[in-house]
Symmetry: D2
Subunit: 333 residues, 4 copies
């Protein structure tokens, strides 16, 4: 059984059904009935007016958001382990026409207000130094940690104080909200977030993510940027339909809860092997090469994560019954 990535999972049956239901003649690009329902559907979820664009990848959502907030000559503050820094092949530089990622450290890939304040305070305010224009955080983080509404709010304050746009990479936003049990609004716009990459693909989607603008004035130019990036799919209804299916009856939360529950099961088994508290659907644990080999010999696949460490990711599709054998195997090490 694979614990490589939630991207390895298949598409949720409700999403497949939605694709079938959308499989009819309609207007091209985003002129179709499904695309036109997105703003209202997300407005209901977030309890405020929003502008929503579908895109096919999280990288695209993240980078369109950054480009909307940061000019080419500016910088975006993020964690040194942020996905936009380590795993998007330089896409932020492409979308922003060369802006700079300005890196801060912090436990569990979490950005702290103090780290942002220190970075900004250490800059000369002159043209020789790149000045920050945006702050980007990942919820849940690259190490599966979750920001509370208060933590996001504190970052929102810092962002506002320094005139920074505030972006949240929510590739696993669903897992974070499932963990927090809060309203989606509490951990986004009410806490100062301007734009959210709302992940769907890791959570049961096929190839649609939502870029949600709480600062709705950023959307118009982004429509042009999306087209210019080759991201305006001809048959947009097949993306919009996926997103609407994810929101229907809170499928997005149900899927995330399932994945989180599976991860919690593994976390319990891992005990003090854990490198980070498990708050979403990722587990990082100490595992010797020998131990890793023994697990793999039993049919469990996962990534090594540096020497003596491993990462396990649980998907929406894996049931407690699927996962228990791995939990038992870890306990038996």
């Amino acid at each position: 059984m694979r614990f490589f990535s939630d991207n390895a999972a298949p598409v949720h049956p409700a999403v497949m059904a939605a694709l079938a239901a959308a499989d009819r003649v309609d207007t091209a690009f985003d002129g179709d009935a499904w695309s036109k329902r997105l703003d209202a559907a997300f407005a209901e979820l977030f309890e405020t007016q929003v502008r929503v664009l579908w895109v096919p990848t999280g990288t695209a959502a993240n980078c369109l958001a950054l480009a909307a907030m940061c000019p080419p000559y500016g910088g975006v503050i993020c964690h040194a382990h942020a996905h936009i820094q380590t795993d998007e092949g330089g896409a932020p530089g492409f979308y922003t026409a060369g802006a700079t990622l300005m890196l801060v450290d912090g436990e569990g890939a979490k950005v702290s207000p103090d780290a942002v304040t220190a970075l900004v305070g250490g800059l000369r305010k002159d043209v020789h130094q790149v000045q920050p224009h945006a702050l980007s955080i990942t919820q849940a983080t690259e190490y599966g940690r979750v920001y509370t509404p208060a933590e996001v709010g504190a970052l929102g304050e810092v962002a506002r104080a320094h005139g920074l746009g505030f972006h949240m990479d929510g590739a696993r936003f669903a897992n974070a909200v499932a963990y927090l049990g809060c309203a989606p609004a509490d951990v986004t716009w009410r806490a100062g977030v301007d734009a959210l990459s709302f992940g769907a693909v890791k959570n049961g989607g096929m190839n649609a993510e939502a870029l949600v603008f709480f600062r709705t004035d950023l959307a118009d130019a982004t429509l042009y940027r999306r087209k210019r990036a080759g991201l305006l799919l001809s048959k947009g209804r097949y993306l919009a339909a996926q997103l609407l299916a994810m929101l229907e009856d809170d499928l997005w939360l149900a899927n995330a809860r399932a994945a989180n529950a599976g991860a919690a099961l593994l976390a319990t088994a891992a005990g003090d092997r854990l490198l980070h508290p498990v708050e979403a659907n990722e587990i990082f644990l100490r595992l010797t090469a020998d131990e890793a080999a023994r697990l793999r010999a039993q049919g469990f696949d996962f990534y090594d994560w540096g020497a003596g460490q491993a990462r396990l990711v649980v998907s929406w599709q894996q049931t407690q019954a699927d996962i228990r054998p791995l939990a038992d195997a870890i306990l038996a090490l």
Copy 2:
């Protein structure tokens, strides 16, 4: 009935079936079994070694090809009515980091060797003028015209003589090959084409196009560019599966033949109203505002194309029975 765009059509049932068949756990990005079969499948179709990348849009395919051939300080020669010039929102400028489209005229949106030669000949070879590095043509053209193998070959000669990369935007490549009845190789690499955007979405696909490199050395850097552009979808198997389904039993040709046949029916009805010979699945015809209104009153939808002109596009899905009423209505004007 809609004759706006072949993008309005639904997805072919065989493609939907292929998506269902691919809906299982596999490796993320392009590490899955379907993605790995693409090179071989297209190599068989084109009778030569190729490197193939799936992308979600034709704009992405076109612009990744151009970026592979043209440095930021260079130019790409294309027709003034080329899709990359008129309908991609400036995407070539984005992907090439600011290269220039160098426009030539020509009937039916066709580029002629003489026009290329004249443009190149009119340039000073100094750093003050942008120098061309690539040539891009559209097959079938934006006015539904088809280049013969000999015509493409003549352009290939000119491209080679001036050291230009040669790209073919084949959003409707299938329609062109269906019209020509030639081997796909004859009108591409055997005629000097280095890279082809092989269209699938307009021809029954959902959201996958193929970027085919005949100059296989261009592919490696393009893999990086694709990721950097946010175009490396997490669950790539759902794109690769669409493309493989299109090739299976030559579905791509069958669909294109159906669309071309429908267009031919309308062309016959249009008679001397035609603005361009109908060689693919698009019909451009003279139509007064009053005539257009009469057709629309009968339930036929289509785009005006400037004053007194209209464009009709037939999709793979529209049968002769679907189309005959419009043909009759045109005859009755």
Copy 3:
């Protein structure tokens, strides 16, 4: 004697003297006393508040202005023979991160309000087409033609109506003002111009041009862009001093008047050979290959300008006595 280009001329003695006077210890970059005087000096000249940045080339001035007005996904309307289109090596694409030059025709390289209106009117207002964000004209034009204040004002109206920034490439602004005899303000901000590339190098300078913002809000970001482009020279006082010297006692106008007068002398000699009315310091005339050879045999150097045509440029330094032999030789053909 050379009539190739006003760039071939040496530096005016007053400018050389200013460089010598500035040759002392002062603050680096633009923190020096000379740089700090620029805003006030140009404000006096233009009778309004301005922000002025020195740059070493006209291309830099032009492209920084365009980047201040046009986002990467936008377009800049200009004449098909505009210097930014034909002779800046694609610099606008570099500085704007890939914006598009949208070309109009017009006699003598002049842009007309109707041409702008027609171009804008012919665009669909959707994301598939690049939308214009700025208008750029050249004063005097690439064919030595001069826009009157009324003509500039009419373009300013059109620009405002369509929400376009309005840039004037004034590489030969001095020659135009010398011809018009108007206040510099009349043909710039009073006529709607937002930014002016105020040329000095062709007019007796060494390597300093002034980018003058009448819309002063555009200057702040441009300071960052100038640094980021490698254009913030370490010893800026040597540029600022040149510009101040040009303004001192209206040296810029005196130099331009001298060059214009020389050109007028040649224009009279050329008579009906002239291809364009001579309003500045450039002469375009019909000249057979044989005639050109005869002039060159007498020691006169100039550029061919297409078949059977030639361009002569008179510099600030060439006296009537220097020029009369060429005038006589032309008359004698």
Copy 4:
């Protein structure tokens, strides 16, 4: 007396004389006699064939070199305190169209082969991570440290092993060579350097730096990039003449030796206040706020460099007699 920056110094009289000598009619841009002599003059200095381009700033030289070596999707390894990272306003991102600076640490702003090896070794070789294409070091470093030929050679080996281009930012190359007493070739191409930004402005020039390509194949495209960046000055002879004057009778070395000697005098006075060994013309020393105030009260100006630290820079123009008062004042603290 100012110890802010060597950029504050005036222009060396020999350079001013060279400007006067070049002040005559000649061909525009880089077609003049002075520009044409550059390759040969630098070839003699470096004992090998080179291609040399004048540019007006060190930032321009650095970034053109990086753009010649690194594609938009690649990375450039440099020190976290490298000038290209900290003080060029994001220019590398502009010139490379968005490439990433990949930072390493190291004492005195020196890059070590081990640091490069560790960075490269820590990367996954996949498209999700930016891959390095070039290495850039500064000679002398931002803290006034000098790489020996052996140290550069070791870096050159590492660069070659990983297929990296190798750039040297030589804003203070003269000071480094003056310190080392080696042949310029020993610390550049013989040690694997592909391109050198040869600084002149800090060392007595006005506004000309030389970009020297030892890998001469990189020059052709750079000519286009230089023009496209607005860096091709119209009257290039005034830049070329400065560079030729610097090479004449090794003025560049004489000036650097003078500055280094002044710095050595201050270093001796500073004693164990020194934060870094003084090998070029910069001194970094511990200085309390009170001590700094006392020095300033005596008329000595310099930059604070973080809390309790200060930077002093000695220029070519400051004599031992100029400097001794400061040395005495430091001793007297």
